[in-house]
Amino acid sequence: MVKLPNINIGKIILLVSMLTWLGLLFVDLLRLFGKVNQMNLGIAEEITYTLEIIFFILVYLFYSRSIELNENNNFIQLIWRAASTGMMALGTSLLTRVFYIILGNTRLSTDPLLANFFYHVNFGMITIFLISCTLLWKKLILYQKNKNIVQQWQIYEVMLLVSMFYVYFNKNSFGSTFLFGLLLLLILGIILSVNLKWIPYLTFKDKWKSILFFFIILVTGTFLFFQVLGYDNSSYIIVSLTDNLFLLGLFGFVITYSLFSLLVTLFNLPTSSVFEQKLTEAINFQKLSQSIQPGQNETQVLDILMDSCMSAAYADAAWLEIMDDDKNFQTLHQRFITNQTRKEVRELIQKSKSFSEYLNQLSQTSQDYANGFIEHELYKSALIIPIWVNKTLLGNIFLLKEVKNGFNKEMLNIMVTFVGQASISVENHRLLNQAIRNERYKEELKIAQRVQRSLLPSELHHNKDFDIVGFSEAADEVGGDYYETFQFDNHRFALIIGDVSGKGTSAAFNMSQMKGVFHSLVQLDLSPKEFLTRANNALSRCLAKNHFITTTYYVLDTDKKSISFSRAGHCPTLYYSKELNQSSFVSLEGMGLGIVRNRKYPNYLHERTIQYVSGDIMVMYTDGIVESKNQNGEEFGYDRLKEVLNQNKENQPEMIKNNIIQSVYDFVGKSALPDDDYSLMVIKFN
């Protein structure tokens, strides 16, 4: 495949338009040469007209492209471009005149061929100037465009195109249709010229510049216009290029728009500072409303707030006092005022009754600011605006002016809005930080939850003589319930279930201590009572004064088919006896671990041994199960638990466990959150 070279369309258009212009020059010179030498070369006028139209269109396309491509033009640059093109056209025209003055009365000065050459040069320059201006004005007119303006502009372009071809019909003579066409172009030009929305966006300095540029364009345009009119009587022009409806229409448009712009810019000058002020306020407002990024601090927002307020009120000096943690005011930002003067003014304000009363109020009132007169040698009016964030005072802004009554209602309204926005930003910033912190705590708790879950056994020790299952669920992320098993040999096992007082994190820590105590003591293969006595000794040194742990410790012997246990304040064991075909709670006196922290503790402990038979079921649980409440505040209770076991006496431990949990959930109701930790161990003997 043949790869096409990368063609620059702009350059091609430029080249072709230059060639067209040369063609135009050549044809006209040839015709003039024929006339001078009294020869009829038979060159029709239409050839000239066609070349002229092609030239117009090419220049139009070239500028259209070039302006479109240059996207980041600001208004001043656009106008400067028009003015500079105008000056080039003007310069060319003036240079031609100077050239003729230098020639004086030489024979060359009356040479029609030379004159015709210069005529073509000037024609070319005028065309370039007018078309480039028109397209630049297009950019200005279509600033903040709407559908109507775009349509109007399109109509105008079509009319310009038609006006180019008009030349074929009237041979450039001034007839009524020519005037009518010109009038039409002018009217539409004027209608388009009212679109001057770009002007207010110029800064004061830019307005002056644009006035200067427009003045240049107007002078150039007028000069060139009269020059074009002057060509009419020249003998060396056989086919006039400049008495063209298109060119004259463009003259009208360029001059009208320049004039309008000049006048409107001029009259906009006095109010431009107001517009600039409003624009700055809008930008300030936007800056304030952008929330502070995490990691940044509030000082930046307060800094912007200070600047915004100062510029809104044209204040001469200002400072900002921030209330620190000890309720003292610290000066944070200070503008155009020395420490000395600030202290002076602060004392004056403190002495002034209305100001000091305002400053001493403790809560937010409907009065958003305090505005008044001070007797300082330099500053005559003062304004205090407090910044309230989430109903607490963050600080006060003090603004000073050298004139009396310097703060008017509009300024005050804007500043109050600024302060309001800044407060919101600060508050959002704080909330965001808090949210991030909370998120981190949540993550930490999740880790704690994982760690704690790993403290509960995933497998429970057993042999073929019994099956066992366990279950635990915490009300919060972490809980204080505990159960575990241990195997001494092939027929003897230790079981423990416990509940730490309280719930949540503190309970979880104590629960892990309990686990440590269990694993240390279980190695010693103690009797249940001895085990709990030693556990009490150990835990008495570990637990906080108001904390205790309830637990029951069981030693199971599958050879002897016996369960020995001792209860340390824990919920009574639920036992289903196959022989009696009923469930009951095994009663045994006891005392929680950590309640009596001295030698008397064993006195409160008792031990009991029961013999089991195949089919017996033992349910160990924590108080979360029996104390779980339904929506009426009623507790699940011991009787319901017993009833569930009676109904499930034929089931396997897994099923019994599931059914107990399910009935607790059903009782509590789906919507209610668990209030306490639930734990459960179920053993069934084979």
Binding site: S501, G502, K545, N546, F548, G590, E627
Partner: protein, 114 residues
């Protein structure tokens, strides 16, 4: 929800509990007992007839003062507990350390006998 009232008599002071004691408000109970302790009464009574529920955290509060009562030789009695709440004390074994009485008369009688 828990509300605690104090009733001061010449020889004893009574704390009247109403509602539930759980982990969230056990601190209030703790503060009240601490305050009552500072009044130097030789007998402290707790009227638990309005108590619907007491959690382990609540029991922990009573438990933590047992030593103080013993040291200062203060008689501490709880009366009027519902069966359900009394059972909670019983299961934990606290009824072996704190005297529980059915009503105020019984409680006062116990004091006078002592």
């Amino acid at each position: 929800m828990l509300s605690i009232d104090k009733q001061k008599d010449i020889e004893h002071v009574t704390l009247i509990l109403d509602g539930q004691v759980d982990a969230s408000n056990s601190v209030e109970l703790d503060d009240e007992i601490k305050e009552v302790l500072s009044l130097n009464y030789k007998t402290i009574l707790v009227d638990g007839s309005g108590l619907d529920y007491i959690s382990s955290a609540g029991l922990g509060v009573f438990m933590s003062y047992l030593e103080d009562f013993e040291e200062k030789d203060i008689q501490f009695l709880i009366f009027g507990l519902s069966d359900k709440v009394a059972n909670v004390f019983h299961i934990l074994g606290l009824d072996q350390l704190i005297t529980l009485k059915a009503n105020k008369e019984d409680a006062l009688k116990t004091i006078n006998e002592a």
